[in-house]
Amino acid sequence: MDDEKIRSVGLDSHKISEISVGRRSRPTLFLDVSIMDQPDNIRSSAAINFFCAAFIVLVTLVLVSQLGGQTRWVKRADLVMQPGFFPTVGLLVMGMPALVLSVVSFRQMRSGIELESPRIIVAGFHRCCEFAVWFLVYVYIIRWVGYLMATLLFMPALSLRVGFRGVRWMVTAVLIGLVIVLLFRTGLQVRLPDGYVYGYLPPEMRNFMIRNF
């Protein structure tokens, strides 16, 4: 399965391995779907798994250290009925497999920790953070200019940012934005905050804008 296909459908690795195994030897009733069985993939998978699992172990340890302070111990209550019981179970289920996975993955790495792996894990992460900021700016400006205006600004601006230049794309982005607003806010009356600027409109128009946009 090529990279584009994986990227476009966002497949999980067991699904990818199912497909890649199937390409080599067609699927049988008793499927061998483990990517870890494939010698070529052991190194990279093991290194990536090690870093991810180790990170989860670290987070679990931090949360375990907070158990006493973030949950209360109730007197004269069974262990299972304690407010801290289920968080402990959750942390155990999260931390123990991650610990085992980090040990197993570390042993599978043939030449120690590969420094390339963290780079693979966070590749493109800075761009995600940028898009996250775009999203949050969109969220905040709705409170100022209203959903209609915010959407009609956000869609062409982000389209421009990701490389869609030219009038045709701008018009398409504005039209799709308008359809989204009309469908969800005007049609389905989805609850979204009104813009502060609506307060400066004449009364009839203000009510109309608050009700529909």
Partner: protein, 501 residues
């Protein structure tokens, strides 16, 4: 029975239900035909919007999208070798080779017809099996539901073969996320770190939207958008339909049966259904060597199996209130928002709603088939939409989903947090579904564990009822089989890599 059916028909004979049927069916096909979007993203976005609608209308839209997207996903799988939804991956095996040798119309027609048979057979299974399960459901006590939810979690972990440890850690993460906020029994704070907005807990919807929609938008926004070559589709759209009915009905029915069984079992879903069906069809075929090279049997097996799952996945949800996979877990929230509690009571108090839902599911399959047979040439244009532009649209729509729940800015931050987590998990090819099922089933497990404690003196009391004992035995058997398989594989690997070998 006829009276009940008439009451249900009265319930659905409304313009809003008719629109919901059309929107769900046609919208689902279009969403499925666009590689990179998929039903999970669409349902996550639309979920809060459906809270305002009547439950039957909202569920019809969501179920329509769920089922119809799998039909539509076959189009890019066959024409450009890129599955429209992840579960159409096996369709590329035989569908695309058929398209390359000049039979794209036949491949599409076969895929639609197989999907239709899978969809209809599974709705029939839903109609006949749900009342049976619902009749047994009153005998399910807290301990039985606790065990059933536990079985769901175990199966979610075990079905991620090759990634069981990662899936287990992510299930634990999901379980832990549910405990954040005010504890419902003693009303004490848990892991709120002094933040007042966290006392309400981390809601499912921002988490789902972040993990599925926003992370997918991040991926799409960074894609390279390579140009796609689409073959011309000419010929009769009905040829495949007759071929499936005349020559391939056995494969279609067997695969649908597999899909239904896999759909009912919590945590399994479309992937294993289609792989088992494909494997079985290949074993039973007179021409197994053609599989993977454009076999009509392979195409029919894969498509009918994955389309049989959506309706079958509703069986445990409607009968017991236990969702078996991420999409039905999202739909559970539609029931709870409208104070409808899935389970045997639903069949007693609102049978016309349940039958109405069956009829809607039935109709969706007919609308989708008719739409596909007519509109395929138009749908092919959808495949050409650039992925980065789709990313812009998905991110814009994600806001509607996140913000409209309670106009909460912290929800947006939570969704972004889960979006970044989802992005990293997608990058490293770790599964997302265990987190969601950990959240949904974790909540059920905690509640049922506490209510069952009144009747439990020793740990053995958890399994002293027939149902809970049976489920416990299934859990032990599943775990034993998994451990045994792992040990066997480990030994085989060692034998292969040892110097003597």
């Amino acid at each position: 029975m006829i009276e009940l059916l008439l009451e249900s028909l009265m319930l659905i004979a409304r313009w809003d239900v008719a629109i919901a049927l059309l929107v769900g069916a046609i919208g689902g096909v279009i969403i499925g035909a666009i590689p990179g979007v998929g039903p999970a993203v669409a349902i996550a976005i639309l979920l809060p919007a459906t809270y305002k609608l009547e439950p039957l209308v909202g569920l019809t839209v969501l179920l329509g999208i769920y089922g119809a997207a799998l039909y539509g996903g076959a189009i890019p799988a066959i024409l450009i070798n890129t599955p429209g939804t992840p579960v159409n991956a096996l369709t590329t095996y035989d569908g695309h080779p058929m398209a390359r040798r000049g039979e794209p119309r036949r491949a599409l027609s076969l895929a639609y017809s197989a999907s239709f048979i899978g969809g209809i057979v599974s709705v029939l299974a839903l109609i006949f099996l749900t009342p049976k399960l619902a009749a047994v459901a009153p005998y399910f006590g807290s301990r039985d539901i606790l065990m059933a939810a536990l079985l769901g979690l175990v199966l979610v972990i075990l079905t991620h073969r090759g990634q069981t440890l990662a899936a287990a850690a992510l299930v634990g993460m999901g379980v832990f996320i549910t405990v954040v906020g005010m504890e419902p029994f003693r009303l004490t704070d848990r892991f709120v770190f002094g933040l007042p907005w966290l006392r309400g807990g981390l809601a499912l919807i921002p988490a789902v939207l972040g993990l599925f929609a926003i992370s997918q938008a991040f991926i799409l926004l960074q894609s390279s958008d390579a140009p796609r070559q689409i073959p011309k589709v000419t010929g009769s759209p009905f040829a495949g339909l007759f071929e499936v009915i005349r020559r391939l009905k056995r494969v279609a029915l067997c695969s649908s049966g597999f899909g239904i069984i896999m759909g009912i079992i919590p945590g399994v879903g479309e992937f294993l259904a289609q792989f088992f069906s494909y494997g079985l069809a290949q074993k039973l075929s007179k021409t197994p060597e053609k599989f993977g090279k454009g076999s009509s049997e392979g195409l029919v097996a894969a498509e009918s199996a994955n389309n049989a799952v959506p309706a079958a996945a509703m069986i445990p949800l409607l009968a017991l209130g236990i969702p078996g996979e991420a999409l039905t877990a999202m739909m559970l929230s539609v029931f709870t928002v409208h104070n409808l509690i899935p389970g045997p009571k639903l069949f007693e108090t609102q049978p016309e709603f349940v039958v109405g839902l069956y009829v809607c599911l039935f109709l969706i399959n007919f609308i989708v088939l008719a739409f596909l047979l007519i509109a395929t040439p138009l749908l092919i244009r959808v495949i050409k939409v650039p992925e980065r532009f789709l990313g812009v649209v998905v991110l814009t729509l994600a806001l509607v989903g996140v913000y409209s729940i309670r106009n909460s800015l912290p929800d947006c931050w939570v969704a972004i947090g889960f979006g970044l987590l989802g992005y990293v998990l997608r990058r490293v090819n770790w599964p997302l579904v265990p987190i969601i099922l950990g959240m949904v089933l974790g909540e059920i497990i905690e509640a049922k564990l506490r209510t069952s404690m009144a009747r439990v003196e020793t740990p053995l009391d958890f399994v002293n009822r027939p149902v809970s004992a049976t489920i416990a035995i299934i859990i032990v058997l599943a775990l034993t089989a998994h451990v045994w398989t792992e040990i066997r594989n480990y030994r085989q690997r060692r034998t292969k890599t040892s110097p003597a070998a």
